[in-house]
Symmetry: D2
Subunit: 338 residues, 4 copies
Amino acid sequence: MIVTVKKNADEKSLNQLIQSFIAKGLQVNDSVGSDYHILGLIGDTTVLDEKSIKANPIVDDVTRIAAPYKKANRLFHPEDTIIDVNGIKIGGNEKIVVIGGPCSVEGLDQICQLAKDVKDAGAVMLRGGAYKPRTSPYAFQGLETEGILDMVEARKQTGLPIVSELMDSNQLPEFEKYVDIIQIGARNMQNFTLLKAVGKSKKPILLKRGLANTIEEWIMSAEYIMASGNPNVILCERGIRTFEKYTRNTLDLSVVPIIKEKTHIPIIIDPSHATGNWKYIEKMSLAAVAAGADGLIIEVHEQPECAWSDGAQCLKPEKFKHLSEKAREIAHVVGRDL
Amino acid sequence: MIVTVKKNADEKSLNQLIQSFIAKGLQVNDSVGSDYHILGLIGDTTVLDEKSIKANPIVDDVTRIAAPYKKANRLFHPEDTIIDVNGIKIGGNEKIVVIGGPCSVEGLDQICQLAKDVKDAGAVMLRGGAYKPRTSPYAFQGLETEGILDMVEARKQTGLPIVSELMDSNQLPEFEKYVDIIQIGARNMQNFTLLKAVGKSKKPILLKRGLANTIEEWIMSAEYIMASGNPNVILCERGIRTFEKYTRNTLDLSVVPIIKEKTHIPIIIDPSHATGNWKYIEKMSLAAVAAGADGLIIEVHEQPECAWSDGAQCLKPEKFKHLSEKAREIAHVVGRDL
Amino acid sequence: MIVTVKKNADEKSLNQLIQSFIAKGLQVNDSVGSDYHILGLIGDTTVLDEKSIKANPIVDDVTRIAAPYKKANRLFHPEDTIIDVNGIKIGGNEKIVVIGGPCSVEGLDQICQLAKDVKDAGAVMLRGGAYKPRTSPYAFQGLETEGILDMVEARKQTGLPIVSELMDSNQLPEFEKYVDIIQIGARNMQNFTLLKAVGKSKKPILLKRGLANTIEEWIMSAEYIMASGNPNVILCERGIRTFEKYTRNTLDLSVVPIIKEKTHIPIIIDPSHATGNWKYIEKMSLAAVAAGADGLIIEVHEQPECAWSDGAQCLKPEKFKHLSEKAREIAHVVGRDL
Amino acid sequence: MIVTVKKNADEKSLNQLIQSFIAKGLQVNDSVGSDYHILGLIGDTTVLDEKSIKANPIVDDVTRIAAPYKKANRLFHPEDTIIDVNGIKIGGNEKIVVIGGPCSVEGLDQICQLAKDVKDAGAVMLRGGAYKPRTSPYAFQGLETEGILDMVEARKQTGLPIVSELMDSNQLPEFEKYVDIIQIGARNMQNFTLLKAVGKSKKPILLKRGLANTIEEWIMSAEYIMASGNPNVILCERGIRTFEKYTRNTLDLSVVPIIKEKTHIPIIIDPSHATGNWKYIEKMSLAAVAAGADGLIIEVHEQPECAWSDGAQCLKPEKFKHLSEKAREIAHVVGRDL
């Protein structure tokens, strides 16, 4: 970490500042420039809070050099983490996983039929929302426990592991009992209470990127889960909020090589929420696989126009099948299977 | 609501669509253009989900005309809502409230001393964090219950009502017992589980705007609380995330006249989190009062450079006093007191 | 276009408003709702200015239904436009074009050597900046005419057509004489003076998307060029400005299917400026081809660390060669060649 | 400037890098950390290009400590710059200037009448567009020279200096002859050709902030003008582009104290373009004055609903008068006059 001190800082305050760093086990290198005085801190700077240092009136600016994450950092954990979900592996050089299913579970028949359809179309896991985060209190909020149990039945019929979103730590026992991957939604990416709660679980956690969160903040949220004891994190990009209006969000595919470089965690892509428009999903899925993603999570519905939520971004099963076939060909070009 | 239908839509699908609207109690006006076919829906359209309609293959686009909120809507509730907090009133043409205190409660002596200082400097309420949402799991997470009890003692000594942030619905009983205004932080603005929980309380809720949430989404989150039964909502702008780097966030003061126009809810401004820099806080506070804000919430600390969190954005008590005196003069120009 | 009129609007003002639309050749459909009064305008609404209508005190809101562009609109020009550059075709189902070269031309030897290298590596055109838009007045501003002439020599030696950025309409004669594709840079995307000037040329124009411009504004800038008489426009996405800090810009690949849907214009991708980091360029290039892009424009330099500008985002020729070989394999999967 | 070198960098490359800095007259301080190796560069670092240094394979990151601007920097020019426009002074502790007028000049009678009206209402200068940057090629593009001459007549009748936007360096002689302040619009903030051209003039330049430009980039554009020889720059904030939809742009008032801290240049605020809605203009104007702005530039029109452009954001003269009276009272509170 670099601390820039104002040139006219008084000796005493400067010494106090330097001593405060030494007291935290850091080494301090001091260089005097023409307009500034620069302290280079060497050692484990994750214990320092930039903003508190910046509050010191003799300090002009603070720059972090080393990344603020440890457990998620590839520097300290060079091999890829591979997550095992009922025998299906995610990450490393494993097969690219395709997860399909409806935005919301709408009933037993619907989800069992869709489970069969997405399996036929190439999916290896089933997604479905039972607890739904909706912008409006007047919108459908999900079938809740009934929806989870419907998915359990769909798993029984198809063998597909199930992924569903957890919104409340009070439902964690239910999710630990029934669900194979626990999803933390974009709006809860910095719900630290929930992150700590799932950090006490051993279930794989699918951590979606927040609407307007930097990659570093996202990795820090993974770090929360890992630091609480759960190393089984999968990251999921679902588009970020920008000024653009022709898409619901802007899909940021550059996260794929960046997450692979900075961390050892698997990364999957959700083109459905990113684009908000079924017409663009196949193209964005192929792009994601070409960029090196470890998986895709895609909304599928028999009758998108009748879906209880997010119909505009659902694919019909036959279109989903076409997508996964083309994605497999792209996977082969980049040295993966699907 | 306006539904634009593709011109070549088949008769049958169009009729089904129109019937689906009529079945929901809406009136449908049908106009045929050269390139599009336009349906105007008249009635209570808050029951409709734009995205599901958009999923219909014959639909080109959907445009909402009426706002999606009801209880928060000034159209249906023309008088200003005034919130009463232990006798202190917020909103309408009442005195502008100034809330001061540290980012984090650091101990009994600190908070009691600061409570006296901010009271002397013009504050009518005390803020302080006991449960802290921190980006890093390695940063100080707050004194928790001990911090709340320290604030209770500070209230006893000064009479100032206390404001603190709730991060977990499991702590709601503690907050209902001890705290006067329950704050929902920016990162939890769309934690719908938490919104519904505080909607069952009767305590005033200070709802901060999310980092990247539109004003409409923010009002919808207020609507969640109100629709769950709690009409006592106060909105708080604390800066939004943009590309700018010289400030921590971009303070959006235009929310003040907009919230006053669209809703009947009080609106206060947090210039500390918005700018992230104590040097800009007074100017932004005066601007907020000039724009018509109902209050200010400001971080104050005796020794900002020693604060356990967010020191860079803390004012010393004497600077805070100067701020509130100037703010009072501005208040008089715009027909308010402080 | 939909005009929402306040319900309590007086009869006379409403009639004046309706007559003003009829006077412009539009048909007006009038529906009365419970809270609003809705006018549906049918006909060529590109002649209307939304903001002026919105200024009418009886108007609540205005919504455009039909796109504001005509010449760029696929609706009125269903076949793909294919641009011919000295026999190389861009767009439609033609071969994907790869354009390589340095950020800045640094001298005759450099550009001639690089031209050979990028040609060997698979490029079919040469890029190079002679007039450079630099944030700082103290940074290298380009070799100007000398740089253009160096590129002409490189073309002579390799046969590669040349692409260079025009910053000033006064240099247009020089560019028309020497350059094969005239680039309009991101910072000039809404320099309407320059757009009108190149609209009078017949040369192909490579129009980069502005840093923070919507897709619609970008198409409107293409429309400026086309409406001025030059139909030879190629669009180029180079990343947009967001809050993310790990990349220089956020590459928005969803533009590829959107531009293909809304317009008939070719679209190419610049992953170098988008990511700002050579490590991510190959992955993003493969993703772009998988998404359906018509071309790639990539910065290449023999010694990136010595480049006079933008070295961090340059590929060495051997890495560029690897990229174009993998991109060709991806192209085959999506039914194209390269 | 701080250059972080990878720890495993080879000796030879490191020495070459260090020598390259010394060759540019800089002093280099070298510290070795556990994971990184840090070079602190001392001296005039405006000559260095961060991106080229970053391209060196042994370099991990580069951090600029000193600001990249010199002539605009308050550090090297501590006194406020005060611009004199026909005897009216802008900046420092001078009177706050109010500039009023239409978005577009629509004819001689209109502009002369409006000039009288805005003068009566408290304006000391007249604004009006003769060359208009419009998103659509089909929208009104301005009266051009005729519009400038109409403003000249309005100045003759009222004595108000005139402000108008220059879009093309070829019109600079016309502007130098007739106009008192030359405006560079937001879309041209990084049209470096135009910045250099007006840098050769001696006329005061009103430099609007770009739609999505950082404060640092904005100051660098001022630096372009100053480095070309024209020290008479006035900055103008007009809102930045964000995700918010209830306003046209997001007015960033924190620029006022920041510009005052970092530079010595006057700063004025344009609430009309920022909000895009006349209803919010007065509140935002009062806020701007409370924040310390040196002036306001506001769109005024007799009949906003008939304005040829941007009617929705125009104030009628009587509302403008009310605004300037209230703004004067706010000015007195912050120690200024108006």
